[in-house]
Symmetry: C2
Subunit: 209 residues, 2 copies
Amino acid sequence: MDTPAPRRTRIQQEKRELILEAALEVFSTNGFRGSTIDQIAEAAGMSKPNLLYYFRRKEDIHETLMQRLLNTWLAPLRELDDIGDPLTELRSYIRRKLEMARDFPRESRLFANEILQGAPRIMPMLEGELKTLVDEKAAVIKGWMRAGKIARTDPWHLIFSIWATTQHYADFDVQVRAVLGPNRGGDGRFEDAARFLEQLFIDGLKPKS
Amino acid sequence: MDTPAPRRTRIQQEKRELILEAALEVFSTNGFRGSTIDQIAEAAGMSKPNLLYYFRRKEDIHETLMQRLLNTWLAPLRELDDIGDPLTELRSYIRRKLEMARDFPRESRLFANEILQGAPRIMPMLEGELKTLVDEKAAVIKGWMRAGKIARTDPWHLIFSIWATTQHYADFDVQVRAVLGPNRGGDGRFEDAARFLEQLFIDGLKPKS
DNA sequence: CTAACGTTTGTCCAATCGGTCAAAATTTGC
DNA sequence: GCAAATTTTGACCGATTGGACAAACGTTAG
């Protein structure tokens, strides 16, 4: 099945972490093709041959990074469950996703880069694992609609819109900060976003009559 | 001021267009650093030195492309006007943006790539022209809220959410299609998205009581 | 202490990168 | 039709790329 449990020394574990941390920084801002091993090595504070001792190819780093990312990235959606009030469930899913955009912006950008480039390295996972999960959760949401707990609409596009609006604050961060300016673009922007998104998804824009 | 009106022959105009078209394709999927002059030249059906006869540096191509993009890209927001019913205005702004994602996905991805990489080449424009325009339109929206025409919320984040949800269908197209599958991921996905987004922005998710 | 093993480095390589240049081929103005 | 101007090409350049490799350096267990 998977890699047969590679035995690693303490130094190997530490150095591999160091490299992955540096590579996350570099890959997430330059994309795979736009990043160089030298850049990653320098960011990790080691020589290029030394880095290649721990990861034999540039692709191996990216692949490892991607595998880790996908697990944590889908965790919030996995938590979306049928127990509890539907509107509250969706609200807290949105909140969790927004928190991830705030706390792990580099992971979000790494993912965005991969998708933008046509997902050449993770396409099977999108069509497999991801689609299965989304279909499953769409069914849950459909159940809520049939029960009259939330408005009837398209569950898949609902999930897309949650992804889009929350990840926007990580992927387009520089634009968000530039437009909001130095006053409103500070640390409070995520709380403003949280408030706005909650209102948007729950009540929409129609004025209360 | 600007470039002093470069006189160009017919061939120059045509070939420059050809190159820009090819470069749009390449840059939008690989980013600036990840793209090579050879790739663009091949996509344009000419030799590398020939391409460099029309654009002396790789950056010149990207810059020209970016300047053109920004004009057309902000056109829909410029059209957002104070005349007419606010909810209708917003609805048609969303529709126009979604049509742009459908008809000009490469332009959207080119822009996304630039922002993802920290907007090194267009930061002044974000803080200048873009911020000014958004602030201006946010004031218009605020007026609608004060007049009770739409619900009170944050106009800036409202604009962000429209950008995010619509551009998502261009930037994350491969993911959207992978998740929707061969049946629902076909040509109809933009109409489904349009229907969903209209409902989301107008009414939200709360069930009609 | 030392032999075995794990780690680090300098040097090197072929391929590719952005870009130059002079010469050849073509188009254009008259 | 012909000369001048424009366009196209092949050959080439130095820098950078991903990666190989052997030698040097550290670490650790007995």
